[in-house]
């Protein structure tokens, strides 16, 4: 059981800056994120796209913004729990007991939800029967490529993940690559390679096709794919891989007893607290009259939520407002020399 003054759910820009605010005012915190890396939507959705409305930063990419926020956190020792999704939040005496899907548990007076539009989950095949084979012979990511050796693998998708795996797996297995249109969106070099491999007969390319159904009783035997003109083709296959990107889902947050309206959580604008004392929601996931889904709004919301955390984490101390430019205490925390 990890005891902390505040637990932040979500390592996007809002969560990162809020961690900084908490450490500045002398609280400790830990951060949980379902993705395998820090940065949230900025890293997952638009690492290379420029952002023009961060105060005092005329232009930066999602990746640059993330790296700058990580650098800003350097003076502090903050534990990140990546690849973990918070499953359960339960009241236990005055604290919240928080559990992740990996079995990590936290006890904290403050839970800050900075979850964007929820956690990123792979987008799945639409035919219902696909679920039956999920994680047995149908996957949305590759954990161990050795299981495919010598087998037939049908890969769906038209982006980098689909193309990269088609190229890689074509060395050791028989590969079908299926995509809903003729154009691929990926690195040009990889696209060229896929076309070359298709010409050489190393990859069977099926474009303008989509998954229609999976067949097999206990084990997956074959799949039906459907052309835009409704023609159906049956492909014998041992494995199926789907790479349709990630979608954002609210997930378990919906079950924590919070006031939720259209995937957003209602908060007040003084502490950004939800209807549950000690649970805050900040950034894109929160909602209040006038809410703007801007990164800068997330920073402001986090700064105020951090002050509210102080009251619950240090009930016997008085919070004193200080500027980073003049406060000796803050400078000590930052590890910079005072004047």
């Amino acid at each position: 059981m990890i005891k902390t003054d505040a637990l932040i759910i979500g390592a996007g820009p809002t969560g990162l800056f809020t961690a900084h605010q908490l450490k500045l005012i002398g609280l400790n915190c830990e951060v949980v994120d379902n993705l395998d890396k820090i940065g949230g939507q900025c890293i997952e959705l638009y690492p290379d796209k420029p952002i023009y409305d961060i105060p005092a930063v005329p232009e930066c990419t999602g990746e640059e913004l993330t790296n700058n926020l990580i650098n800003q956190l350097k003076p502090f020792d903050i534990k990140f729990h990546l690849n973990e999704r918070v499953e359960e939040v339960k009241k236990e005496n005055d604290n919240w007991l928080v559990k992740t899907n990996n079995g990590t548990s936290f006890s904290t007076p403050n839970v800050i939800i900075a979850g964007g539009v929820g956690s990123f989950e792979p987008r799945k095949f639409s035919p219902k029967e696909c679920e039956k084979f999920e994680n047995k012979s149908l996957f949305y990511s590759v954990k161990d490529k050795k299981i495919f050796t010598g087998k037939t693998v049908s890969i769906f998708g038209g982006g980098d993940s689909a193309l990269d795996w088609a190229v890689e797996l074509s060395k050791e297995c028989s590969v079908n690559l299926i995509h809903r249109r003729d154009e691929f969106r990926g690195a040009q070099a990889t696209i060229d390679k896929v076309h070359q491999l298709a010409k050489d007969g190393k990859i069977n390319l099926f474009t303008q096709y989509q998954m229609a159904s999976v067949k097999g009783d206990k084990n997956l035997e074959s799949i039906d794919i459907k052309h835009d003109n409704n023609e159906i083709k049956n492909l014998k296959t041992d494995y199926v891989l789907g790479f349709f990107g990630l979608i954002m889902q609210l997930g378990p947050i919906a079950n924590w007893g919070l006031n939720i309206d259209k995937k957003t959580i209602e908060v007040d604008t003084e502490k950004f607290e939800t209807n549950q004392k000690g649970i805050y929601a900040i950034g894109d996931i929160c909602n209040y009259p006038g809410k703007l889904k801007l990164i800068l709004s997330g920073f402001h919301e986090g700064a105020l939520a951090a002050r509210a955390c102080f009251k619950l984490a240090r009930p016997n101390e008085k919070y004193r407002f200080e500027f980073t430019t003049s406060s000796k205490t803050i400078k000590k925390r930052l590890g910079v020399k005072g004047d």
Binding site: L45, V117, R123, S126, G159, H179
Partner: protein, 106 residues
């Protein structure tokens, strides 16, 4: 102003007047039409405002720009008449547009 008909997957018709300049996605969100999530708020960074445009309208409305087709690869059950409704701007020319909303967005 344009009259736009949103047809949900259970065949419910929702007819609304949408102001010029808004997008078909915004018209749906502002009128509480179910089935258009628009998670990213119109930034073409998700595919949760996906609609099917009736064939006769599909060729009449402004064409897809770069990036929209890429995002549609990630939509739920995309078809040849799929569009992201955040990329269709409302004008007098599209008065009478009908769009079908998929059974789900994710």
């Amino acid at each position: 102003m344009a009259k736009i008909t949103y047809i949900t997957h259970d065949n419910q018709k929702h007819e609304v007047e949408v102001q010029n300049g808004l997008t078909v996605m915004e018209g749906a969100v502002q009128n509480d039409i179910p089935g258009i999530d628009a998670d990213c708020g119109g930034g073409m960074a998700c595919a949760t405002c996906h609609v099917y445009v009736k064939e006769d309208w599909f060729n009449k409305i402004p064409k897809k720009e770069d990036g929209e087709e890429d995002m549609l690869d990630m939509a739920f059950e995309p078809k040849t008449n799929s569009r992201l409704s955040c990329q269709i701007v409302v004008s007098d020319e599209i008065d009478g547009l009908e769009v079908n909303i998929p059974s789900k967005q994710a």
